[in-house]
Symmetry: C2
Subunit: 313 residues, 2 copies
């Protein structure tokens, strides 16, 4: 249950007095999520989500909140932060940084259809396109320096052949960076559970707290590695092409991106293999993380290495 900090109806009613959202009708804890405390909040003005940030600090948050506001301003269905009477997105509730955002409709799917893959590709392209006019920057906290450092730390927990694979991949991507391709704001975590679907339509993109500035193709690879993967950890060619073609129609992919596509898929898989190894072997004190199995991304990575001509447009 992702309610690490309890919020009572009296707490939220008092907090809402500093907003123009009407009066509280319903408050309900949200079980999903592993980093923040989330509540559904229904007021006379509509349906919202209250988030109390358990780890991110008030210094980190403006980038994420301003980004969501920027994307919503461009018509991307994402949680839109609500400003308080002092015109600020970020407040404090029960000792934690807190914000209230619009609630989107739809629910996540586990077995997407080809049409749903296409819808997600199109929306990711729109998001990248809308993000081009966003003025703020955020370094990728899971970039090459982090990969090298984290790989070093988890290496001792691995059987020898996995340690060799890991070190080799970290070295490969350090010397083969995704250079000379378009950059911008990326979501960096657009897995199936971070997309709300309404049938074949994307109802919402959520959980922007890994968003950063990076290579757009890397974001596409992260998304494809989750949405278009078979249970065996191989890309479904039909799903992949559907996602990429729809993306391409919204934000045209370049020839340089075509060349780097196999490497983008590998580095995207590597990033999640490392973070899952890290969460499994080196959990942070107090983490209530349901650790994902790292082997899934090891297998995806191995399959990408073995298949240097992945499906493209």
């Amino acid at each position: 249950m992702a309610v690490f900090t309890r919020v009572s109806e009296a707490d939220i009613a008092a907090w809402l007095a500093n907003y123009s959202l009407g009066t509280l009708l319903e408050l309900q804890g949200i079980p999903a999520g592993i980093e923040n405390t989330n509540y559904f909040v229904t007021t006379t003005n509509g349906r919202f989500v209250l988030t109390l940030f358990e780890k991110l600090t008030a210094d980190d948050l403006p980038f994420f909140l301003n980004l969501m506001a920027h994307l919503a301003r461009h018509g991307i269905p994402c949680p839109c932060p609500v400003a308080d009477k002092q015109n600020r997105f970020l407040g404090e509730l029960n000792g934690k940084p807190a914000c209230i955002v619009s609630r989107l409709s739809g629910k996540s799917v586990t077995q997407p259809t080809t049409a749903q893959c296409a819808a997600v590709g199109a929306m990711l392209g729109q998001m990248h396109s809308a993000g081009q006019s966003f003025g703020e920057q955020m370094l990728n906290p899971r970039g090459s320096a982090w990969r090298a450092e984290a790989a070093q730390q988890v290496r001792r927990f691995l059987p020898p052949q996995d340690a060799v694979l890991l070190a080799g991949e970290v070295e490969f991507h350090a010397t083969h960076p995704l250079a000379g391709i378009p950059r911008g704001v990326i979501h960096a975590d657009l897995f199936r559970d971070n997309v709300l679907m309404e049938g074949e339509r994307v109802g919402g993109l959520i959980d922007f707290y890994f968003a950063c500035t990076g290579k757009l193709l890397y974001d596409v690879a992260i998304t494809v590695n989750d949405w278009c993967m078979t249970p065996e950890g191989k890309l479904d060619a039909g799903h992949t092409r559907a996602l990429l073609n729809a993306y391409h129609a919204a934000r045209p992919l370049t020839a340089a991106e075509a060349d780097l596509w196999p490497i983008a898929l590998r580095v995207a898989a590597l990033r999640f293999w490392i973070s899952r190894l890290y969460d499994l072997h080196l959990p942070r004190e107090g983490d209530i993380v349901h650790a994902h199995n790292p082997d899934q991304f090891k297998r995806i990575l191995q399959n990408h290495i073995a298949s240097p001509n992945p499906p493209w447009l």
Copy 2:
């Protein structure tokens, strides 16, 4: 039919290429409205309204568009302008200034219940409260100078007793202004057809193109004069108190406002009596206005003059 400028599917599809709204699914003209051309536009990202401004110019529009964006940012359900790839709200389509805004749900009601009057009062209070942090100003184009000038022009069309009533009221309000009470952004036209209801909830406030800076109580009076009026042109005491009490809970009314309430109701009625006389007797060239009957507001004004103790909190 409020489609003064035709927009084809090809026109809008080309125009949408400069937005991050996905691809066009449906385009449908909107019959309501007398000042602008409006279309419902459904894209893969959601439901929107396209407006082509037939009279307002690109100089006038930023105040209105920025105001709607500001209120939406504060969680007020109002049309939220969508920014294009250059981050601008205002574009041009088929030679007219144009924008695309979020589409709200609900529909207007003609015979509001007490609960609906309360919901509108609460939302108006929220809107006034959220408007306090809006930085831009707009003079009321239907203020005292306009009243004096327009009354002068329509006077010759009136029977003598109406001309005397009109001149007397214009003179009365020129010497009894609504002074010393809270100011801010006002909608200035929150009639029943500008509120979308979803049952007893306000789904949306629309048509902000008369919004300006003014006395908040004047906005309340305009709203009450429409929402709480009986067919005989008298205030329904239950509806009026419900609206005012709900407003008061959202934005507390002051003692000075209580004193000025009878005058606020009169001047709000006078404003619409004059504009309806003007539209009837002096229609602008090319106006396709369905002129409302001015007598309704003459009767309301007379009833207000005859009832100096209108319902209050």
